[in-house]
């Protein structure tokens, strides 16, 4: 059964809020960290509700709203979200207050907002949506699990539509912490240099990306979601990709574009290069983390990009990693990995 991506909403470090345009203007950053381009929150959220919401909640509500408006969906049958860290800022706030004040004079707002499903809950609250609501928090599988869960329920007929989102926020303190364990670029180097092998290391990013999935094709349809697979500490990525395509009655030659999660870390670049060289030597390869940065749910931005490419039948030059723009754009494969342990494949096709 076909599943259509009928609405998209992206709040990211790039100009992605407006779905009618597609990366026409790429923004350059020169820190090893990409900030969000904040939307005009008051246009989407009443000030009374806004006051308590941290940025990740606001950005996710806006992205969700944009995707629902895009597809004309008023009430989703399911709200399914994925996040690697959840509400990092609220967690930090409560933690800092607790430690500095030695467990006294603590206020509850940042505590209640630190739970990972706050965003899913807030979206439901705003819509008065009493339907299925789930939040997955598992590193590089967070968004993939959400997407997979939605697909299973749509295939089963349990639901007719789903609002699915992947989001993460980065705070100043979290960046310090992640930089201590992630190989990262030096400050002062441009995000456009992410693929430069002399600048080994990634850039830390963030974003909120939401999608409306439905079983019917609409005027607003962006792409078909054909299949997805996520796998842990694989022995052979190449074998898994071949089998994945075979299960979908496809082979590597049927893939017109492969979007890969190249992130500037040389050990991960090797894996992507091996897949590209062995399986897709003649296929155009695209990338996205120079635009959104590396974070737990970056594959949601990659999904946004795949959807836009298939609907607009156009690949911006700035996202081509290798090769020339292909002559036809029918099947796209997205391959992402996170910290070498979590790998995912998402297969899309033109509507």
């Amino acid at each position: 059964m076909a599943i259509y991506i009928n609405g998209i909403g992206s709040i990211s470090p790039q100009e992605t809020k407006d779905n009618s345009t597609f990366l026409s203007n790429i923004i350059e950053y020169t820190n090893a960290f990409l900030p969000i381009l904040e939307p005009p929150y008051k246009e989407y959220i009443p000030p009374k509700n806004l006051r308590r919401m941290s940025k990740i909640i606001r950005n996710s509500i806006v992205a969700a709203h944009i995707s629902m408006k895009d597809s004309n969906l008023e009430m989703p049958d399911a709200i399914i979200t994925g996040t690697g860290l959840g509400c990092a800022l609220d967690t930090e706030k409560f933690l800092s207050n607790m430690t500095e004040n030695k467990e006294t004079f603590l206020t509850p707002t940042s505590f209640i907002q630190s739970t990972h499903n706050t965003i899913g809950g807030s979206i439901a609250l705003g819509l008065a949506c009493h339907n299925y609501n789930m939040t997955y928090v598992h590193r590089g599988f967070s968004f993939e699990t959400a997407l997979h869960d939605a697909k299973m329920m749509l295939d089963d007929g349990e639901i007719e539509n789903a609002l699915v989102g992947g989001f993460d926020e980065m705070t100043d303190k979290h960046i310090i912490l992640l930089k201590s364990i992630w190989s990262h670029q030096k400050d002062g180097v441009s995000n456009f240099q992410l693929r430069n092998p002399e600048e080994n290391g990634t850039i830390i990013g963030q974003g909120s990306n939401f999608f409306v999935l439905e079983k019917e094709k609409k005027l607003s349809s962006y792409a078909k979601l054909l299949d997805l697979k996520f796998f842990y500490k694989p022995d052979s990525v190449i074998e898994i990709i071949e089998e994945f395509l075979k299960n979908n009655k496809l082979n590597t030659k049927n893939i017109d574009l492969v979007i890969m999660g190249y992130n500037g870390i040389s050990s991960e670049t090797e894996v992507y290069d091996a897949v590209s060289d062995h399986l897709f030597p003649k296929t155009t390869i695209a990338w996205f983390k120079h635009l959104c940065g590396e974070f737990y749910t970056a594959s949601a931005f990659g999904t946004w990009m795949a959807a836009q490419i298939l609907q607009k039948q156009y690949i911006p030059k700035s996202v081509i990693y290798k090769g020339n723009a292909p002559t036809k754009l029918h099947n796209i494969l997205l391959y992402n990995q996170f910290q070498k342990n979590e790998h995912s494949l998402i297969l899309f096709s033109q509507c």
Partner: protein, 397 residues
């Protein structure tokens, strides 16, 4: 013919004990695990009773059979103990042919380590690496690595309904044949973060909690972990079936970030939908293991929702949180284990510390251990922040 979801392994660790046998023994003897704080280093020691597992991280590590390593959060340690118990019972150590997965759940994740080392790190820029164990995926992957599970891993975090939701996803994965065997459950350890967080909401009782009592004054926090092994019934070989997952549902209250709606709309929806999925009528349920946290808000909201769904023919009801405390993300699966044991042994646990029926409700929970019953179906509720309400129904084997 429907291929039912069979339960072939259970494991649990809580303030009641280190394994199923010890937990069950305490339940039978009405021995609550809620006591003064002994291990967690907090100013609230002596003020707030909790359901604490009476072993330090070093002692828990010894029980796991490895050397103490600061790279393991307490959440991971208790999770692995419970996971191994369930995995062993389901004899999956020697299963090399099935597609095996792990759906875990946690809300505190590695916070027990993070809260110790965070401020130092931010001030000085160096110190213990806690960020690697901070996120919810860490404990899941440690368990997966120990048990050799690779085909599917994920972690759910929906506050207090988290681990009930794990069971639901596990069942769905089996029905869709994504997996053949799935380990489902969750874990949460006590932390200063949650203790102070709930304290700031002024919903902690300084006495042992009194679920469904008119004079209840809040919850006691607890810690624990539990796991179930689920398989398709037709593929169960050479092992006992402990029960079945008969139905489940998740609904959202959509009323407030933390408080439940006065009439318990989300709770009523979750219970009704679970019944519908299980193709059961309300009167088919013999026992409800309630969420019953003993907060003013939950017990009223849940109580009214139960009355609405079950009408005049209420099943027997009790909350086991006065035994274990509220184990947050682990509550759903710990109480599921208790529900499965109730079905297996045909008994119902007492709702400890209960004295006075709530003015607003038409029922009192059971206050004695009831044995030699005819139980066919038990319903377990878990309701979390963000209006996340889950209900699950277990059937007798």
């Amino acid at each position: 013919m429907v291929d039912r979801i069979a339960i072939t392994g259970i494991g649990v660790i809580s303030a009641l004990g280190l394994n199923v046998e010890q937990n069950f023994d305490a339940l039978l003897k009405s021995q609550s695990g809620i006591k003064a704080i002994r291990i967690l280093n907090t100013i609230h020691n002596g003020e707030l009773p909790v359901g604490e597992i009476p072993f330090t991280d070093e002692e828990l590590t010894q029980k796991l059979g490895f050397t103490f390593n600061k790279g393991w959060s307490r959440t991971s340690l208790i999770g692995l103990l419970a996971a191994r118990e369930a995995w062993n019972q389901a004899k999956l150590y020697k299963d090399y042919k099935s597609k095996k997965g792990l759906v875990s759940a946690t809300t505190v994740a590695g916070m027990r380590r993070s809260e110790e080392f965070y401020c130092d790190f931010i001030k000085n820029g160096t110190g213990e690496d806690f960020i690697s164990t901070h996120d919810a995926g860490d404990s899941t992957e440690k368990i997966a690595d120990d048990l050799g599970i690779k085909d599917y891993l994920t972690t759910i975090s929906t506050a207090c309904s988290s681990s009930t939701n794990s069971i639901m996803l596990g069942a769905r994965l089996l029905k869709n044949k994504v997996l053949d065997k799935v380990l489902v459950g969750g874990m949460d350890s006590l932390t200063k973060f949650t203790l102070n967080g709930f304290n700031s909401l002024m919903i902690l009782d300084k006495q042992n909690c009194r679920s469904f009592d008119d004079n209840r004054a809040g919850l006691n926090l607890g810690e624990g972990a539990a796991f179930l092994v689920l398989e398709r019934e037709s593929e169960v070989e050479d092992k006992a079936i402990l029960g079945y997952v008969a139905g489940y549902a998740n609904a959202n209250d959509a009323y407030h970030q933390t408080a439940s709606s006065p009439e318990g709309k989300g709770a009523a929806l979750a219970m009704s939908k679970a019944l519908k999925m299980a193709k059961l009528k309300a009167e088919d349920i013999d026992y409800i293991n309630a969420h019953g946290t003993a907060t003013l808000n939950n017990d009223l909201s849940e109580g009214l929702a139960i009355e609405e769904v079950f009408g005049k023919k209420l099943p027997k009801i009790s909350s086991t949180k006065p035994f274990t405390g509220h184990t947050l993300g682990a509550a759903g699966v710990i109480e599921s284990v208790f529900s499965i044991l109730a079905l297996k042994h045909q008994l119902i646990y007492p709702n400890l510390n209960f004295k006075t029926q709530m003015k607003e409700l038409n029922f009192s929970p059971e206050t004695e251990l009831l044995r030699n019953l005819k139980l066919n179906f038990v319903l377990s509720n878990s309701f979390g922040f963000g209006g996340n309400n889950s209900s699950i129904i277990f059937g007798k084997h």
